[in-house]
Amino acid sequence: MIYFSNTKILSILLVIFIALMFAVPNFFSKDQLNSFPSFIPKQQVNLGLDLQGGSHLLLEVDTVEIIKERLENLNSDVRRVLKKNNIQYSNFKNTEDNLKFVVEEFPAEIQKEILEISVSNSQNILQMGDQTNLVITRDENQVFISFTDEFIKLAVSNAVAQSLEIVRRRIDELGTREPSIQRQGSSRIIIQLPGIDDPDRIKALLGQTAKLTFQLVDTSTNYDPLNPKKAPVGSEILPSDTDNSFKYIVKKRVMVGGENLVDAQPGFDPQTNEPIVSFRFDRLGASKFGRVTQQNVGKPFAIILDDTVISAPVIREAILGGSGQISGGFDSEEANDLAILLRAGALPAPLIILEERSVGPDLGADSIEAGQYAAIIGFVAVIIFMMFIYRYFGFLADIALIINLFMVLGILSLFQATLTLPGIAGIILTIGMAVDANVLIFERVKEEIRSGSKMINAVENGYKRALSTILDANITTLIAAVILFFMASGPVRGFSITLAIGIFTSVFTAFTFTRLLISIYAKSLKPSLVGMKIND
């Protein structure tokens, strides 16, 4: 056990050397690193948001809303089929997960025609091969129409993917530093924003779906804009953005929507000097917009953002150029944000903020400082204690401990794992626990010597006997660390990472490096001096 071949010695030293090389960059500033030769690694430990300051947001795509909206689209299609075939129906209702109505008769071919809506009409509903997405169930005269589970899964999955993309675009537009935007689970998005400790503006940007539509104002009825009673069929009542008590009745049919925009820029109206957002349609949008404005000269149309009317100008002449501007009493920052939202596109469903954790740069810096301080003091205390108890062997264990710390740092840098405040705590805990493997061995060696073994044999047997104990003892802590890793996220996960790395490095150093040192020591002893200084 204590005889090492040269290759073995070399490979132990090599592993330690590589780990040290990766640890070294953490002791220099970025500028200093850049002046180093290229073969030296330059990756530093990746600091978590709790140490470098920043904001963590957990969002959820409102999946109920996605299905609700699709059911609303389905509503008119189903009614159309029923009317076309002269089917008498009553109590037609949308619920959160189905459409329901009552019919006297419901022939099979009509059912088939309804089922095929989802196949033929791909505009409203997502296409899924040539299979229907709908399920019709009946309870006597009551009919329920809902989407198939596969369809709901796909619709949600698409909506989340699309949301992810749009969230990314919106955040990129703001020019934040190295944001990380990731999907979590089936309907959640995690956003990490280093350096941002007040995410109010980002939250405001993400809080809007930014669905822009152009719809005609319904001028067929006279109504009191402060207290409209009921909208005619095919129209809806929407509030004004500038004055909440003022309502508009607008036609539900959308002239053009935000998806036809190709550009939006903030600016100022040259005449009034009011902040505006100017936009441009794509070809399809321009021609649609041109046609509708041509047919409705003299009538007002509404520019609607997220179900509120931003403004409702009167069409003076056909707008054929495919560009226009929105003004609506916003300031220049609001105009800027609106332009960002329009460029990035609308979210398919609202996002709900489930969790926010923001740390200012001061607290992060304080935490790093406190962590370093605690690590150094804990380290010195352990080193002194070990030398006090085990003298020369304690000194060897202390060298191993130093190597250990460098290895933890090196592995963190190499794999770009995130170091958090609990992660620092994990390293400090490692300082305390890393000596355990060596302690187990030393105690064994002492026992062997006490029972009369020679030094070399004592070391040999001590290592042999301690092996299974060390493995058993460390595997239990490792199990706890692994469970923690899978259960936790964010800072706490950082703790499980450093704890696990610490377990590996301490077992590794005890079985290679300290053993090497001890074997060199044991072999250097003259036969007459054999027998460690122990206090029996």
């Binding site: 001061d362 406190a370 705590a425 058993d472 469970i483 706490v492 206090n535």
Partner: protein, 308 residues
């Protein structure tokens, strides 16, 4: 120099007393848990936490009264480490996840107008009802999973008697930790779960070392009476147990004193866990083997054992 080698302490002599002592602590823990419960932090309760720093000292009572007029429900204000650092906690608002988001803005505006000096917002945390519910659930599952994994591992490596003894000691440690948080009403949040999991690992680590020696001695001294054998095993591993506990405590104490306010609760839990875990390895896990009828014939399965 302290001599902790070759001790011959009769640990099992007072086993009835230590069992009663442990049982009282467990009962006390349960009592505290059911009477006062845990003081859940926002991770598990939901709500808003804001840490601020100001140039001048702030009169907490006045600020608290001011914030309690915002009709956000219960608002707690407490000193955090120094007189210029305050922690503001706002309870969870009824009405779902979206509503929680407004709290930060309302409190920030109110602070800016109430306090004359510049306010530095060091930390803001908002946890909605959905996430807090999930966190409490996954925390509980993680602890149970860890205990279960240990049970299986020890069973696999030793025998069921050892596995049972170790897990009883483990549950003892977890209950006492939850008990101390119920009694002190220290905030119980996500990092405390991490600490408990580490305690589970550490306590097991200690127990395994003692058990390993018990197993070895069962092979070595086949005719020795079990109480003497357990005493011998504890004594033989005692110096290791003490040295490792001391080094771990040295590191943790340093973290507790110098590591800053944010992880104080976390460190406290671990210090407690190391003390309790060490105690339970010696006074709970090992003596329990006396009652669990451990197998004496270890050599029947493998005639020549590798350790000799």
């Amino acid at each position: 120099m302290i001599d902790i080698a070759n001790t011959k302490i009769n640990f099992l002599k007072s086993r009835i007393i230590t069992f009663i002592f442990s049982s009282i602590l467990v009962v006390l823990s349960f009592g505290a848990f059911f009477v006062s419960g845990l003081n859940f932090g926002i991770d598990f309760k939901g709500g808003t936490l804001i840490e601020i720093e100001t140039e001048n000292e702030i009169e907490i009572a006045g600020l608290r009264d001011n914030l309690n007029t915002l009709s956000l429900g219960d608002v707690q204000v407490q000193e955090f480490g120094s007189k210029n650092n305050l922690l503001i906690r706002v309870e969870q608002q009824s009405g779902g996840d979206q509503i929680q988001q407004n709290v930060v803005e309302i409190v920030k505006n109110s602070l800016d107008s109430y306090l004359s000096s510049e306010v530095n917002f060091r930390r803001t945390e908002v946890v909605g009802p959905k996430v807090s519910g999930e966190l409490i659930q996954s925390g509980a599952i993680a602890i149970l999973a860890a205990v279960f994994a240990m049970l299986i591992y020890i069973w696999f490596r030793f025998e069921w008697q050892f596995s049972l003894g170790a897990v009883v000691a483990l549950i003892h440690d977890v209950i006492l930790t939850i008990g101390v948080f119920s009694i002190t009403q220290l905030e119980f949040n996500l990092p405390i779960i991490a600490a408990i999991l580490t305690i589970v690992g550490y306590s097991m680590n200690d127990t395994v070392v003692v058990y390993d020696r018990v197993r070895e001695n069962l092979r070595k001294h086949r005719s020795k009476n079990i109480i003497d054998l357990l005493n011998l095993s504890i004594n033989e591993t005692l110096s290791r147990t003490i040295v490792t506990s001391v080094t771990t405590l040295l590191a943790l104490l340093s973290l507790f004193i110098f590591g800053g306010e944010v992880i104080k609760g976390f460190t406290f839990a671990m210090i407690w866990g190391v003390v309790v875990g060490t105690y339970s390895s010696i006074f709970v896990a090992a003596p329990l083997l006396n009652y669990l009828d451990v197998k004496r014939e270890w050599n029947t399965t493998s005639a020549v054992d590798s350790t000799r």
